[in-house]
């Protein structure tokens, strides 16, 4: 029943870890070309949902649709950005970025050309031959992002990609992400803990309840999306939306 408006849909997902019921009857649509945030308290099953969409975990029940097709395994239509970067410490930046293409059997010179392009795009020009341990946390996350971008999947799955970087870098990344969403016609699914971050970068924020997790509310911030990056954080709808989400989550924290 998926249509061409949604890049990804999950329908009636149940997931248990032994006795722990992580997801119960979770359904959610991710519109094409938009950024959807999954926002919710720690342990509510955000990573679980993202891994199920990625095909890295199997749900106990329910389906994942990508472009209207049911999927149950990883595929070239989705790329994952990992919270802890997941870089190979024994490989250079260039090989790390090209690794997705390497696994997809793209010829060496071709994949390195593509990787170079994305290394440049994320601002790591000149670090092609560095190793992950020579980079800062923010730079490593850019490597992970470049790797996901270079396989050119229409769907990008990002699990708290900015949680390991400092506040300044994080703000810079959020601005870059907004830019990326505008430029690339990709669908982003973005997990975060931060209400401000979710409201700032998203076209749509899905608020998840604590375990067993369902979607409690979907909020679509809209009016400030076309403003320039600096004025968003001062926009009154932005601030109101943050406040509203905080109010609805507050009861679960208390």
């Amino acid at each position: 029943m998926s249509d061409n408006v949604n890049a990804v849909s999950v329908k009636g997902i149940y997931k248990n870890y032994g006795d722990v019921e992580a997801l119960r009857d979770m359904s959610l649509d991710f519109p094409k070309g938009q950024l959807t945030s999954l926002l919710g308290p720690s342990g509510c099953g955000k990573t679980t949902l993202l891994k199920i969409i990625a095909g890295l975990l199997q749900p106990n029940q329910g389906e994942v649709y990508v472009n209207g097709q049911i999927v149950s395994e990883p595929g070239p239509d989705r790329a994952f950005v990992f919270q802890d970067f997941a870089l190979m410490p024994w490989a250079s930046v260039l090989r790390n970025v090209a690794f997705g293409l390497e696994l997809r059997k793209v010829a060496k010179s071709e994949r390195e050309d593509i990787a170079r392009k994305y290394i440049k795009e994320v601002g790591l020009d000149g670090f092609e031959n560095s190793y992950p341990h020579e980079l800062s946390g923010g730079m490593r996350q850019r490597v992970g992002l470049a790797r996901a971008l270079s396989v050119d999947s229409p769907v990008l799955l990002m699990d708290e990609p900015f949680s390991a970087v400092d506040e300044q870098t994080r703000r810079k990344f959020q601005e870059d992400l907004l830019q990326l969403v505008k430029e690339e016609s990709k669908t982003f699914i973005f997990v975060t803990h931060s209400i401000e971050e979710a409201v700032y970068v998203s076209d749509q924020v899905a608020i998840l309840l604590p375990r067993p997790s369902r979607v409690s509310e979907i909020i679509k911030p809209s009016s400030f999306k076309n403003k320039d990056v600096d004025s968003i954080r001062k926009d009154s709808e932005y601030l109101d939306t943050v406040e509203k989400i905080w109010k609805s989550l507050r009861s679960y924290v208390e």
Binding site: K51, A54, G55, L56, P74, G75, P76, R78, A79, F80, F82, Q83, D84, A86, M88, P89, W90, F99, G100, E102, L103, R104, Y131, P132, H133, V151
Partner: protein, 251 residues
């Protein structure tokens, strides 16, 4: 070592002990202990003799043969055990048992099964080296960062790619550590094997020299073996150092 404030190079104390040996030898304390210098003279005499060269090459074949099997069986098995609970539960009790078992006691059985030749010695050498290689590789794979595995899977890695491009490299520092200890144990294995199956390699020379009371010949062989074992383990230590930096930086 320091003497009168001068820093002496690492092996200086060996010279001192060599001197003690020489003096004791010249005092003819025991026929068992000829002067060190005469041992070197003997060594110079026999090192290009047919028997010695043959013993050396047979030992090398047994050593590297045994090590080869220990590596090509041990590393993949260790990776499988680290990856897969079922395989792990199947093999771990055996690996642990053989790891601490007195393997020397098995040699007579092996001689019956595989004959008195090179084949048995290669098997003995493999048996000495392989368990620690398996255990270390397994430990290396067990500590692998789960998200590296997820990463490879998310890009559609097939099992062989994941095995070679992720698991092997992630476990490499531990594998090198295991190989190093495995090497040292292989030296033991090859010598013990030859001594017990005393018609091959240095075993036959030992047999020959000791039965004729050619003590300086006997000692010459022992010196050669010690020097070889020592050199190999030092080389491996150097190699392991080069990978240490990377072990501390990964993750």
């Amino acid at each position: 070592m320091r003497i009168f404030g001068f820093k002496l190079p690492n092996m200086t104390s060996l010279i001192l002990w060599g001197l003690v040996w020489e003096i004791l030898g010249r005092m003819e304390v025991s026929f068992f202990l000829p002067p060190l210098s005469s041992i070197f003279v003997t060594l110079a005499d026999i090192y290009d003799s047919k028997a010695f060269v043959r013993a050396l090459s047979e030992t090398a074949v047994a050593f590297f043969g045994g090590l080869f099997y220990a590596l090509v069986i041990g590393i993949p098995l260790g990776i499988f055990m680290g990856k897969n609970r079922f395989v792990d539960e199947l093999f771990l009790p055996w690996v642990n048992m053989f790891m601490s078992a007195p393997l020397t006691a098995l040699v007579p059985v092996l001689m019956v099964l595989f004959g008195f030749g090179l084949k048995s010695i290669i098997i003995v050498t493999t048996l000495f080296a392989i368990w620690i290689i398996i255990l270390n590789t397994r430990a290396g794979v067990k500590q692998i960062n789960r998200s590296l595995v997820d990463m490879a899977n998310s890009f559609g890695a097939n099992p062989i790619d994941a095995f070679i491009k992720i698991y092997f490299w992630a476990a490499l520092p531990e594998i090198i550590g295991g190989i190093r200890i495995g090497f040292i144990r292989a030296v033991k294995g090859v010598i013990i094997g030859q001594l017990l199956i005393s018609i091959v390699g240095f075993g036959s020379l030992f047999e020959l020299y000791s039965s004729r009371f050619l003590m300086s010949h006997f000692w010459a062989i022992i010196l050669v073996l010690f020097a070889l074992a020592f050199t190999i383990s030092e080389l491996l230590a150097m190699l392991a150092k080069r990978f240490d930096y990377y072990a501390s930086k990964r993750g």
